[in-house]
Subunit: 394 residues, 2 copies
């Protein structure tokens, strides 16, 4: 539903240097303009030969070839080799026209400067990477939506692509609501708590590859929240309203979202646990997420909804970071709700076990002490100790 509502959404594209491209998301497929390698290349230190000249060669009856000198590393092999001839080539060097194999120095011996004895038959292509063997010019080598790894950067360098088109970093604006919130540099008086969510969300956004166009703490007041959201809609692609753990705040978060031109709130309260007070809406063409005030719920909802949304938006192909583990506990279901249970993973006898972590509602330490979480579908009647399940890593 969320995806359907935002199918017109798009993130702009920018050209960047591949040195800045680690973890950026490719906005269009990359097609190789060069072959890799551009020439037939030796994979060993040895002698380039016509393989047919070595057939029947052995320790007792070597083949005798005329040695023509050497090809130097990084130089073009301009010589043409005829039957009965050989030439020295270093690892990575170009093998000349007329040759189709390289015999390793271990299996050959120089009788004199012009004569080589070869002790082993070579097959066609032995110890050679042919032109285009690694990458062919015209080949699509990396697909749109790829989050670029060091290996991908290596591939881009191999084909001489110094600049590529990636999606711009999605811009987020974080608004924390709540009369109880004080920022880190403020004095913590009785009844107040630190604004945790802005900081945790900031870090989640950075890890997701986004950037923060702004953030603010807003009192529980309709007009203040509305003007803050209006400002945020101008400055960003995604607006996150965090908090409002009480019923009243939730209500006017919806009212604020509905006050802008657009679809307004279309998801109000998701049936997952924890995470009830989650709102998804649209205003002025931008997506607005209303996240629960509890830090634990807030972080899990971010990972479940916002990460999913951004991955869809940027066509990201990568799987979610997860592993499997054997449950070390029986766990009851919450009928009709998707339940997210935080766990730790411990290794015993080479197998991973998931152990539940528990804490009272709203504890931030619950998450920092957990490795990940498991998901129970609404129809499941609980899970039994010994079952193997997927663990989504935090």
């Amino acid at each position: 539903m969320m995806i359907e509502a935002f199918k017109e959404y798009h993130i702009e594209i920018e050209e960047i240097n591949i040195l800045d491209a680690t973890d950026r998301v490719l906005a269009e497929a990359v097609v190789a303009k060069e072959n890799v390698p551009e020439f037939n290349r030796s994979t060993v230190d040895g002698y380039a030969v016509k393989s047919s000249d070595t057939h029947g060669a052995s320790e007792s009856i070597p083949s005798f070839l005329t040695l023509l000198g050497e090809i130097k590393m990084g130089e073009e092999a301009k010589v043409k080799i005829s039957s009965g001839e050989a030439i020295y080539v270093p690892t990575g060097g170009m093998i000349p026209e007329g040759t189709d194999a390289v015999i390793m120095i271990e299996y050959a011996e120089k009788l004199d400067d012009a004569t080589l004895m070869v002790y082993r038959p070579q097959s066609v292509g032995e110890n050679v990477i042919l032109k285009g063997d690694d990458i062919k010019a015209g080949e699509r080598i990396i697909e749109k939506g790829k989050k670029l790894t060091p290996q991908d950067i290596g591939v881009l360098a191999a084909i001489g692509a110094s600049k590529i088109n990636v999606y711009k970093r999605p811009r987020f604006f974080i608004i924390s609501t709540g009369d109880e919130l004080v920022d880190l540099d403020e004095e913590l008086t009785m009844g107040k708590v630190r604004d945790i969510n802005s900081y945790a969300l900031y870090s989640l956004i950075i890890k997701l590859g986004g950037e923060i166009s702004g953030s603010s703490i807003v009192r529980d007041d309709f007009e203040l929240l509305r003007s803050s959201v209006e400002n945020a809609l101008e400055a960003s692609d995604v607006v996150i309203i965090s908090g409002g753990s009480s019923v009243g705040t939730r209500d006017y978060t919806s009212k604020v979202i509905n006050s802008f031109k657009g679809k307004g709130v279309f998801v109000h309260g998701v049936s997952i646990k924890p995470g009830k007070p989650t709102i998804i809406g649209e205003g002025k063409g931008k997506v607005i997420f209303g996240l629960p005030g509890h830090p634990v719920s807030s972080i899990i909802i971010f990972k479940v909804f916002i990460e999913y949304f951004i991955k869809h938006l940027l066509n990201i192909k990568e799987n979610i970071n997860k592993t499997t583990a054997i449950l070390d506990f029986n766990f009851p279901s919450s009928p009709g709700k998707e339940t997210y249970q935080t766990v730790n993973i411990v290794e015993r006898n080479g197998k991973n076990y998931a152990i539940p972590t528990f804490g009272k509602s709203g504890m931030i330490t619950l998450l920092s002490k957990s490795d990940g979480y498991i998901v129970l579908k609404p129809h499941e009647e609980g899970i039994l100790k010994g079952e193997e399940r997927e663990v989504y890593l935090l």
Copy 2:
């Protein structure tokens, strides 16, 4: 041996804002200066009560309490509650002295503005987070060596820690050697290849949390390489000399390292496959790695040796990124060598299978098409299809 040789090595510490701390490594344990929360806090919208006043309450025989109004969100609860009294508290609000539980609004009803009927008994502490329940002042909450996650940033915000001490990013200098190398902006003439390793290593260093203090491409020449390494030793913590796939280059890489004051080369050729020409040495108190010229070997050696070294240096506690998978193939061993086999992971019927990826020596696409690698120990006599093994993710 490497660790022993560099036990005096250390990376400096710097103080940074927690907004910049994602994935940085904590250089000293963090001790909480505040309690979280600093007061007894309600986890629901409801009425703060003395639990003893609700004992025996039921739908048919409710307890009647005197309602004293409400505590507002973010305000100090200055009132003191006596037996027989109750007061409204929102989720996250402070509960007043004299109360020890909060009854949810669903289980209570206002008879008039001053009278509350309670339909359910409450136990001590029900729906309340006590002062310090989440974090106690004086508690060590994050250990030295922790690579900081969004959850950790949340915890730091919770205790009001806006600045923390982390290790400075280790500075790397990358030197690529080889007469065959041309940079991305140069023309690719016959016999030459693009400098792949500098770019792949650059990206690996960024992902590892390091920074690049410089890089250069150097011809196969002792004096040029020596002056380049001398410059690199001044500017960085770790010097990487990449390439020199031929025997000759390897030899004078060693000579260059040995020409500086220090221990010189103490690991020359590691018995792992691929990765033979790996060199580890010390010059002028800095660590110098000589990596093989083949991009695949180079990346794997980086992950195996350099990542390990940096993790040790910064006391990083995180495990290596790995998962388990069932081998879908028989694989022979290389006796006496540790063998690294690249694989893809595919899911079938909810289980992960590892399928080998093969390519000729030196192919960069081999790695970009693989998800990870498995390690065969030197003493292993190969592995059989159906065995479950750890896969180190690339």
